[in-house]
């Protein structure tokens, strides 16, 4: 059946893309083939509108064992013969219409990217964005997403160790659900997503193939509309039990050495895995679709080619060693069925009951091969004019700073996320050191070594909205700062680039400048980009979401004893502020949510200043001169101090700068500032080690368990903690 242009455009292809397919094949494609190209050339799989700029990011470094884009996830050397595999990915569109399954399969999918490389996932993180908490739909979305993440992760048995959640009205229709997985593997034991050796058998392993998730990649590459719920079959359904068995079976199979390559089936299912593996190995395949185990009868070829049923892998095995592999999957009661073989001819030939139903060159489908690459236009967003108009003098300092602080601490973007994270198993695998000693980045131990991994996800998208270049630099810097505050050395990042429609020149401006900022910051901190995911089309009738380039960063601690925590430890310890307070309330939670100002510039930030801060902080932590470290971020100095105080219930007494606005000192979010505590006996040594870095001794930890600011008593820490801990729960549960 010859496909028509109308069918092609209905599947999301552009007219010139349909022409390009005809050129490649030298004939008009049939419907199955058009369907394959439509998903493989969708934004989600091909990166056609982003790859040009992604290539400008630093993607190489001494510690990178695999370059960005070469495999399913990045691989970095963490020493002692261990490698760390990690990646972040979005599942925004599915979560917008079916939050539970959307989030659950997001978690399942990202873990598969990690263990398909032979690594065992040891930590899960996420980054979530929702609309306003007081909207009933938001509450439905949050509850569904949190339950979905918990459902999958808790059963799969990998701890959810960290994350971030923000609520802004721009995410009302388009929530963001970004999931990150971090795994570890012995260097040299990794598996590649490749296929070669004519005659080698190709197996599908794991769950049966159903009609769920058909066209999910294309669905993720269009704006969300009120009709999106009709795309419900585009949402996949997850089974974490199946994936847990698949994980154990795959990790048991790898040491046999019987494997040529393995790739998980995520977006575009069989089409994507067969084409990407074949293109990488410069071979082709013959695939018999009728041999694929299915969940329902009479599935059509294109349905099988496009199905995004979860918990499946494609593996290529060395001929003659099929039995070894089969035995392991039998042990775990998992399907393992040969569906084809590798060919020297580089075309992919798919048969159904002996009939050839699709015949395309593997290379023509994939990114870096035949997939189109576009340059998009961009122009300075008009709303920048609004941002320039902001003047701090238009904001009157509140008479009651304590009340402002009280409101701020209970605002959903700052208040404790306890209601959320207690629904996640954060402790399975007995590696999460956060449970009993909180630190800025979560430090997870690597069993079998002395090492710890410091992991974090960060992005303040309001900053990026105000200034895409600076905002993206801040996102990278904050991630690195969190890792340094935890005693680690930043190593590399993965990114999840959530933006609106790339055909909107203002959105594309945000994208381009965010990439530039990210690149500059990553070069400065020597943290290359190992891979990630682009999610465009996060936009509805209300407009695009804030540009949200989420950074997932991994750092290394050579021994766990290097870990630094945030908590105030002993009364009498001195409190130092490293960096400088400024007359700056730009873009702060305080300005946005308490004062109600929507447009203001990004907060103060200077990359060199940030670098120096982190460099000196590494020294003083390494030399054991500080007892706690916590960076100042959302909510400013005040929120930071309360967070340090609450852990052990100790109080603090501080004095603020006389020549600055009080609200700017307490609630401003100027970057490159960290609060540390120091044993009074070590003042001299500590201050000497700072060598030129600006710092102020602002007060001390008190034993009365009270908050005292400029001689005003703000009450007991325990009362602030109660308000902080329970605020979100009250808003969500009512």
């Amino acid at each position: 059946m010859i496909a028509t242009l109308e069918q092609a455009t209905k599947l999301g292809l552009r007219e010139e893309e349909f022409e390009k397919i005809k050129q490649i094949l030298g004939r008009t494609p049939n419907f199955n083939e058009v369907a394959m190209y439509s998903v493989m050339w969708s934004e989600h799989c091909s990166y056609k509108n982003s790859i040009k700029w992604l290539k400008t990011l630093p993607r190489d470094g001494a510690k990178l064992l695999v370059k960005a884009g070469e495999e399913n996830a990045g691989l970095v050397d963490i020493g002692d013969g261990w490698g760390c595999v990690f990646k972040i990915e979005s599942h925004n569109h599915p979560s917008a219409i079916e939050p539970f399954q959307g989030a659950a399969t997001g978690v399942g999918g990202i873990h598969r990217d990690i263990f398909t490389m032979g690594a065992r996932p040891i930590a899960s993180l996420n980054s979530l964005r929702f609309g306003k908490v007081d909207n009933p739909k938001t509450r439905w979305l949050i509850k569904g997403v949190v339950k979905g993440i918990g459902h999958y992760g808790n059963c799969f048995g990998v701890p959810t160790v960290a994350g971030e959640v923000y609520y802004e009205s721009c995410y009302q229709t388009n929530p963001l659900v970004n999931a990150m997985s971090v795994g570890v593997v012995r260097v040299g034991q990794t598996v590649s997503a490749t296929s070669h050796g004519a005659g080698n058998p190709v197996f599908i392993v794991g769950a049966s193939t159903g009609k769920d998730g058909i066209g999910g990649a294309s669905f993720a590459s269009a704006d969300i509309t009120e009709n999106s719920a009709e795309s419900l079959p585009s949402v996949q359904v997850g089974d974490p039990f199946e994936e847990k068995k698949l994980l154990e079976a795959c990790l048991e199979m790898i040491p046999t050495g019987a494997l040529i390559g393995m790739q998980d089936m995520g977006a575009a299912g069989i089409t994507c895995s067969t084409s990407e593996m074949s293109a990488k190995g410069e071979h082709g395949m013959i695939i018999h679709l009728d041999k694929v185990p299915t969940r329902q009868q009479n599935m059509k070829p294109w349905e099988m080619l496009l199905s995004e049923s979860q918990e499946r892998m494609l593996i290529v095995v060395k001929k003659g060693r099929e039995d070894e592999v089969q035995k392991i999957f039998d042990k775990w009661d998992i399907h393992c069925v040969q569906i084809g073989e590798v060919t020297k001819d580089t075309n992919l030939k798919y048969y159904m009951n002996g009939e050839l139903v699709a015949d395309v060159p593997a290379e023509s489908l994939v990114l870096g091969g035949g997939a189109p690459v576009y340059e998009r236009e961009y122009k300075t967003p008009a709303y920048f004019e609004e941002i320039k108009k902001f003047n701090i003098d238009s904001i009157i300092e509140p008479d009651d700073l304590k009340e402002a602080g009280y409101q701020l601490l209970q605002s959903p973007n700052i208040a404790s996320k306890r209601w959320i994270y207690e629904q996640y198993d954060s402790m399975v695998m007995t590696g999460n050191t956060q449970t009993n000693e909180a630190s800025d980045a979560t430090v997870v131990r690597v069993h079998g070594s002395e090492k710890g991994l410091a992991v974090t996800t960060d992005c303040n998208s309001r900053y990026v909205f105000s200034d895409p270049y600076v905002g993206a630099m801040i996102a990278v810097s904050e991630a690195a700062r969190n890792i340094v505050c935890s005693g680690g050395v930043p190593v590399a990042i993965t990114n999840c680039l959530n933006f609106g429609n790339p055909y909107n020149p203002e959105v594309y401006y945000q994208f381009v400048h965010a990439i530039k900022g990210m690149g500059d910051a990553c070069r400065k901190f020597d943290t290359p980009v190992t891979g990630g995911n682009v999610s465009f089309y996060n936009q509805s009738e209300d407009g695009p979401v804030y540009p949200t380039p989420t950074i997932g960063m991994v750092g290394v601690l050579d021994t766990l004893s290097q870990k630094m925590s945030i908590s105030f430890k002993h009364p009498g310890d001195s409190i130092y502020l490293l960096g400088k307070n400024r007359n700056d309330i730009n873009c702060s939670e305080y300005l946005h949510h308490i004062c109600g100002v929507e447009y203001s510039p990004a907060p103060h930030f200077d990359l060199e200043e940030e670098y120096q801060l982190q460099h000196r902080l590494q020294k003083v932590i390494g030399n054991q001169l500080v007892k706690s470290a916590h960076d100042i971020s959302e909510g400013g100095l005040f929120a930071c101090m309360v967070e340090c105080a609450m852990v052990n219930g100790l109080g603090f007494t501080i004095t603020t700068d006389k020549d600055l606005r009080k609200d700017a000192v307490l609630f401003g979010e100027a970057q490159s500032r960290v609060i540390v505590t120091v044993n009074p006996d070590l003042h001299a040594l500590f201050e000497a080690e700072l060598r030129g870095l600006p710092f102020t001794k602002i007060g001390h930890v008190n034993a009365t368990k009270e908050i005292v600011i400029d001689d005003h008593n703000w009450g007991y820490v325990s009362d602030w903690k109660e308000a902080y801990d329970t605020s979100l729960e009250k808003m969500l549960v009512g």
Partner: protein, 227 residues
């Protein structure tokens, strides 16, 4: 003396238990596969552990399928002959399903999964664990969606009269009250034993509290009690 840890499909605390027993407590551990039927290398001095997780995906009902696995037949015989058995979390659910312990574990009263540190307190010194852990409130994590212990009045009376209640949820000072109950368990019950005092089940995870690297070793005394 040695420990045997059963691996069911979907177990996910099996390795944690192995690490805790082997690395933190220097015990001999043998991992056992659910499809096997051989426990002949274990004597009455040894202890079989059913770890936490989602055996068989928790399909049908937590523990309901695992209870029929070939290895469980052997464990039931082993327990009936006086061998020591410990079930943690999903393991506790399996022991109740298998009839080795009375009562059931229902969905948490708040209908959400809960993972956090809680405190538990030994109820009696009339069992192996109680005599080893003393009266101190122990900080042990829970992580479950179905951990609300329930039994009818007659069973509860029996548990009470026979001193079969091993742990109750309490606060950090050892006070047992409703606010320290993470799941709505009846009478704050966190763990019990059988009449013969050789089979133990508890919802909190002692294996998650055995390592100095995690800053909590309150679980050690619980596991070592079965050595």
């Amino acid at each position: 003396m040695k420990f045997g840890v059963i691996v069911f499909p979907g177990s996910n605390c099996d390795r944690d238990m192995q690490h805790a027993l082997q690395d933190d407590l220097q015990q001999e551990v043998v991992m056992l596969w659910h499809k096997d039927r051989n426990l002949s290398m274990f004597t009455k001095n040894d202890c079989i552990v059913l770890p936490g997780g989602f055996s068989y995906g928790d399909y049908l009902r937590c523990g309901a399928v695992a209870r029929f696995s070939p290895m469980m037949e052997q464990v039931i015989n082993f327990a009936n002959n006086g061998g020591k058995v410990l079930g943690v979390c999903n393991g506790f659910q399996i022991l109740c399903e298998a009839g080795l312990l009375p009562g059931v574990l229902l969905q948490n009263d708040h209908q959400k999964f809960v993972c956090k540190n809680v405190y538990i307190k030994s109820e009696s010194t009339n069992n192996l664990i109680g005599v080893n852990v003393g009266e101190k409130a122990l900080k042990i994590p829970v992580a479950h969606g179905e951990g609300r212990y329930y039994a009818d009045a007659a069973t509860l009376k029996q548990l009470h009269d026979n001193k079969q209640i091993v742990f109750r949820y309490c606060d950090e000072h050892g006070e047992v009250h409703i606010n320290s109950n993470p799941n709505g368990a009846i009478n704050n019950i966190a763990g019990i034993c059988n009449e013969g005092r050789n089979v133990y089940g508890m919802m909190p995870h002692p294996e998650r509290a055995c390592s100095t690297a995690l800053n909590n070793i309150d679980g050690r005394a619980i596991l070592m009690a079965l050595n």
